[in-house]
């Protein structure tokens, strides 16, 4: 027993030592000699600022969303350039690609100090990470291709002036569905999921994303509220709506909901535009065109829009290579290949010249102006994020 107590005491001491190790980053803000709020470590920022155009300082550790950059056999199948290989060849470095499927998972990794060089956070996550001192400022001198970005992507609220992030792709969260299963004669309504009468026809064949902001956001929009609502009553109402809808849906799924749709396990699903189109492409064969059976719509009540960006975390180990990569991806030809591959719209205006015509004219990827007006970006809600997490857990329990 005595030995056990000694062991516990020893562990407590180790724990305390670890705690004080992490102190410099967390308590620097409250110290008297450092009045600024949580600033990233000086070293990484200074190194990034000292990089020259096209300079590399080692291999690239890229942390990106699943299947979000063309590489390997997938790129070959899609008949687009293998951008990872092209970067490796052009700059003589190796790229280690790690993939994630949720902003929060990525945040947890960076927060835990894992040393990635480039990450791809969505808009609201950029503000969370920026405020927490987890991103370093980009050295604009070595990323001249920033000039390729369309004017509407240079001053977005989550990061005005793109000081910490460079837009990668943008898209919408709408409804993918099988033609003939829902009434789309006058546009598609979120009611096909949330209105019990309209959804009854597809009961048991509907999927929702499993994501506290996206899923709650769709319910909020259907109820006529903002998807960034900070009213507890509104969020509670949305949670209650999701709870009621549970009897009608097949699954909460953010991972393979598009496969469920093309396999006939669902008829209607909430999801990301590029994901649906990518799946329709995969389901098509020489004799079968899946686009004749499946469509994507931005609902008449409105929908979420988002921008995914490239950013450099404070845990960066190769800041020069990281910035060379960001500049490489913002190149007009490379940016076009990215869109030709993943069917998400490009924020890169100069790239439009090289994007396949059919993509530029595709309403599901480049929505017309009147539809764009119905879109709303997710915002960082600060401490209120927890309220969403709890309400969503409660809705699903």
């Amino acid at each position: 027993m005595k030995r056990l107590m000694i062991l516990i005491a020893a562990v407590a001491l180790i724990g305390a030592a670890c705690g004080s190790d992490s102190d410099p980053t967390t308590t620097a803000g409250s110290g008297t000699d450092a009045p600024t709020t949580e600033a990233p470590p000086e070293g990484a920022q200074a190194m990034a600022d000292a990089c020259a155009l096209g300079e590399t300082d080692g291999d690239l550790n890229l942390y990106n969303w699943t299947e979000y950059i063309p590489t390997g056999s997938v790129a070959e199948d899609a008949e687009v350039t293998d951008l990872v290989k092209k970067f490796e060849d052009e700059f003589g470095v190796d790229v280690v690609l790690t993939e994630y499927d949720s902003n929060e998972v990525m945040l947890a990794q960076i927060d835990a100090g894992v040393g990635y060089d480039v990450i791809v956070p969505s808009d609201y996550m950029v503000s969370i990470m920026k405020d927490a001192g987890l991103l370093i400022e980009l050295n604009q001198d070595v990323i001249p291709n920033m000039a390729n970005l369309g004017a509407e992507f240079t001053d977005l609220p989550y990061d005005p002036g793109n000081l910490y992030s460079a837009p990668y792709q943008w898209g919408t969260t709408g409804i993918g569905y099988k033609y003939g299963e829902i009434d789309d004669s006058e546009g598609v309504s979120w009611g096909v999921i949330f209105d019990p009468d309209m959804a009854a026809a597809n009961a048991g064949y509907i999927s929702l994303l499993d994501d506290e902001r996206e899923t709650m956001g769709a319910a909020l929009i259907y109820l006529g509220y903002s998807l960034n609502s900070t009213s507890e009553a509104e969020v509670d109402e949305a949670a209650a709506l999701i709870k009621e809808t549970k009897d009608l849906i097949a699954a909460f799924n953010s991972a393979d909901y598009t496969d469920l749709l093309t396999a006939g396990e669902t008829m209607v699903g909430q999801g990301w535009n590029g994901d649906f189109l990518f799946a329709y492409d995969e389901a098509s064969t020489d004799d079968y065109d899946a686009y004749e059976d499946f469509g994507y719509a931005i609902p008449i009540e409105g929908a979420a829009a988002w921008v995914d960006t490239m950013a450099i975390p404070s845990t960066v180990e190769h800041p020069c290579t990281a910035q060379a990569f960001i500049n490489f991806m913002l190149d007009a030809v490379n940016g076009a290949e990215l869109t030709n591959y993943n069917y998400y719209a490009s924020p890169n205006e100069a790239a439009e010249e090289f994007i396949w015509e059919e993509i530029l004219e595709w309403d599901a990827i480049y929505p017309p102006d009147d539809v764009v007006e119905r879109l709303e970006f997710f915002a960082d809600l600060g401490d209120f994020n927890n309220y969403y997490a709890d309400a969503y857990s409660a809705a699903k329990s």
Binding site: A12, G15, A16, G204, D210, A389, S393, S397
Partner: protein, 302 residues
């Protein structure tokens, strides 16, 4: 002559040299301890330390981004355990775990009994290998395979539709139970087999000779003798069933939050490590107490 010699000398030793014997004993146990050192070290590094870390984190606070911070110690995470949300989730998880354990026990007992009563050792070994074969592939892969069996085009759905007994089962509660039963049945069968195989069948014969009916002989002799297997199997099935989260997600469509999913969410999307730690820590304590009580009461009556 030699016999008496031996007897007298051994008698002499125990009588004359108790000290020597104690010394030998001590040396023996010291050697035993040395053999156990690797296991102790392993368990302390990979089990005791992480466990202590979990309990330490359950009292930590969180930064704005949700990073756990080892300062501002508080018991908020523990007080949250009494929330209605937590109680609903715990109740549902318990209910599912108990039901799955009972199902596994009913089906597994008959199966284990059947295997253990095969005459030929070869047949028994072969049947046991069949029980183990599923472990050769990953649980996640096997669960996805069940999804294909249960979906609209799957054989099980087609059989149900042909007979008019059931429709598509994928994303329903029965689908979750099929997955859980499938996943944990071997954990029930193996300890039950070990217990039943060891039973001295002459005791059952004796019961029958004394005019006990087959049912009575089973209830009064076989069942009590296989109790250690029932206890071990139930614990092996109940504990992972309580934390199951892959099966409800893939086969149930993630529509109901169970304890496992709830804890995973705390360490992922919700970024609330202290609360997740408190949840895991509390379950561990409850399970430990329950197991001790179970073993105590079970051990006495066997």
């Amino acid at each position: 002559m030699t016999l008496t010699d031996e007897r007298s000398s051994s008698h002499e030793e125990t009588a004359v040299n108790p000290k020597l014997e104690r010394k030998a004993h001590r040396r023996e146990s010291w050697r035993g301890f040395l053999h156990a050192v690797p296991a102790y070290v392993y368990l302390i590094i990979f089990f005791v330390l992480p466990l202590i870390i979990v309990y330490v984190f359950s009292f930590a606070s969180r930064s704005r981004t949700g990073r756990p911070e080892l300062e501002g110690w508080n018991v908020d995470s523990w007080t949250r355990l009494t929330d209605e949300l937590v109680r609903t989730i715990v109740t549902r998880s318990l209910w599912m775990a108990i039901l799955n354990t009972v199902l596994c026990l009913i089906i597994g007992y008959q199966f284990a009994y059947w295997i253990a009563t095969r005459r030929s050792q070869k047949v028994r070994s072969f049947l046991l290998i069949l029980v183990l074969i599923p472990f050769w592939s990953n649980f996640l892969v096997r669960t996805y395979a069940w999804r294909m069996l249960l979906d609209s085009d799957g054989y099980i759905t087609q059989i149900g539709e042909l007979t008019g007994l059931w429709g598509r089962m994928l994303f329903t509660i029965p689908a979750v139970f099929i997955g859980l039963l499938y996943g944990y049945l071997p954990f029930m069968v193996l300890p039950l087999y070990a217990a039943i195989e060891r039973i001295d069948w002459s005791l059952v014969e004796a019961a029958r000779d004394l005019y006990a009916s087959g049912v009575k002989a089973f209830l009064r002799v076989t069942l009590p003798l296989s109790k250690p297997g029932i206890i071990a199997g139930s614990i092996l099935v109940f504990i992972p069933s309580l934390g199951a989260y892959v099966t409800p997600d893939i086969l149930g469509g993630a529509k109901t939050t169970l304890l496992g999913n709830f804890i995973v969410t705390q360490f992922g999307a919700a970024r609330n490590w202290p609360f997740g730690s408190a949840l895991s820590g509390a379950i561990l304590i409850v399970m430990l107490l329950a197991t001790i009580v179970y073993f105590r009461t079970g051990g006495r009556t066997v």
